[in-house]
């Protein structure tokens, strides 16, 4: 059997190639993100500038709705034509499938963030210049945990028919701590002391560790051939 990293690279490569062929998912998700920005911006931001705190919350709305669609798509690829059985019967670690799907998901939502965040900065006159690094770290940590949870549950529900709202329903409440922490950290970063809250960072890190481990362990159990 190939080493784990080679298996992961192969599967990620396959998924990237599929996505590159159609560019459906990333296109859909980016447009959705921009739409959310526009809707919320018109309602909340037209006129007064929006605080870093509010802008973060608005961005998370875009990230989580877009993110859920990405997670569904990366698992849906395996659902058609029993493709997943092809992976399960191959001489690879089942854990490799999890890592590969997680990486693909991270790449997709990072892409989403890279497009949607500048749009938010533009529409909301949201000035992150002093704290760009802090902002990036908070978002990156949050997205990692979010993707871990999303990858796991996308696999769990991918064979049920009523997919659409179901994944969102499962993932959102579990991810609330991320949103609470990142918005509060942004608040203290922009309006308060201007330094990163250590408890917040620790909490985000704890979320990531807990759910990365849990998802890694449980993923194999939710793959039913």
């Amino acid at each position: 059997m190939m080493p784990l990293y080679r298996q992961v690279i192969l599967i990620v490569g396959k998924d990237v190639r599929i996505e590159a062929r159609g560019r459906q998912t990333i296109g859909l998700v980016v447009v959705l993100g921009i739409l959310i920005m526009v809707v919320l911006g018109m309602g909340l931001g037209a006129g007064k500038p929006i605080s870093g705190f509010s802008a973060t919350a608005i961005l998370w709305v875009a990230y989580i709705f877009g993110g859920v669609l990405c997670f569904e798509k990366t698992m849906a690829v395996e659902r058609h034509d029993d493709a997943l059985a092809g992976l399960l019967v191959a001489p690879i670690d089942r854990g490799a499938i999890f890592i590969a799907k997680l990486i693909t998901n991270l790449v997709l939502i990072a892409g989403l963030a890279l497009v949607v965040t500048p749009v938010a900065i533009l529409l909301f006159r949201f000035d992150i210049s002093g704290h760009a690094l802090g902002f990036s770290i908070i978002i990156a940590l949050g997205m990692t945990g979010f993707a871990a949870v999303g990858t796991l549950f996308a696999a769990a529900v991918s064979s049920t028919r009523l997919q659409g709202g179901l994944l969102a329903l499962l993932v959102f409440p579990l991810s609330l701590p991320i949103i609470i922490v990142s918005t509060q950290m942004m608040r203290s970063l922009f309006e308060g002391a201007g330094s990163m809250n250590v408890l917040g960072l620790g909490t985000l890190a704890a979320f990531d560790v807990i759910f990365l481990i849990m998802s890694w362990l449980v993923f194999e159990l939710v793959l039913e051939p």
Partner: protein
């Protein structure tokens, strides 16, 4: 149920409900003194704390039963997990409501984004969602699988939620001192609320099992686990 079990159940409920009524009676001002700073509404606290602890216990049962299902793949674990989740959601609703009543009295508003209320809200959402996803999945096996994974994740989320709300601004944290008589009342409340929870849990569990047996009858030959009654001898289909 056999008649022995029936007697036990009836006795249990008589004791529990009587006890519960008695603990409400205990809240009379001459037995349980009114708290200085807050006044009579403070007595909502006797509901709030025991119910909150039991919510956590119910959540733990969901967690353990979910692991049990993933490990053994026997449906009764799922019956137990979903029963416990129902209790957790119910109890959490009470926690939320009593918390809001307390807040209205203490700070003049029905809702604030204080750590405690936010924590109760998120917990409530976690277990209400557990109940909402179940009808959305047709296959009992898939439903049990998804519920189990969620049940484990939700419980693991609880400490993280707790940590996360610590970052939220806390408005005038009020600490209250408990006179000895109040502590006694609180203790009785713990007992009655806990008994109530376990009673509701077991009742709900039995109902879940019964409903499942009736909906998915399996022929004698293929049945491996007996739950006491087989509805009809039908051919098993895979």
């Amino acid at each position: 149920m056999t008649s022995g079990k029936k007697i036990l159940a009836v006795t249990f409920w008589i004791v529990t409900l009587t006890l519960f009524a008695w603990t409400i009676w205990l809240l009379r001002d001459d037995i349980t003194p009114v708290e200085r700073t807050m006044g009579p509404i403070q007595k909502v606290f006797y509901f709030h704390l025991p119910v909150a602890i039991n919510t956590f216990i119910a959540a733990m049962v969901v967690f353990i039963a979910s692991i049990g299902y993933l490990w053994q793949r026997k449906m009764w674990w799922d019956d137990l997990a979903s029963a416990a989740a129902k209790i957790a959601a119910l109890y959490c609703s009470v926690v939320l409501l009593t918390g809001m009543i307390w807040g209205k009295e203490a700070w003049g508003q029905w809702w604030t984004w204080s750590p405690r209320l936010t924590f109760s809200l998120v917990l409530w959402l976690l277990y209400v969602v557990y109940l909402m996803i179940r009808p959305a999945i047709e296959s009992p096996q898939r439903r049990a699988l998804v519920s189990s994974v969620y049940g484990i994740a939700a419980f693991l989320d609880v400490p993280v939620v707790y940590l996360s709300v610590k970052l939220m601004p806390d408005i005038h944290p009020r600490s209250i001192e408990l006179a000895p008589a109040m502590k006694v009342t609180l203790l009785w409340w713990f007992v009655s609320v806990s008994l109530l929870m376990w009673g509701l849990l077991i009742t709900r569990y039995r109902i879940n099992r019964r409903v499942r047996d009736l909906n998915y009858p399996v022929g004698d030959e293929t049945r491996t686990e007996s739950s006491g009654r087989v509805a009809r001898a039908a051919g098993g289909a895979s």
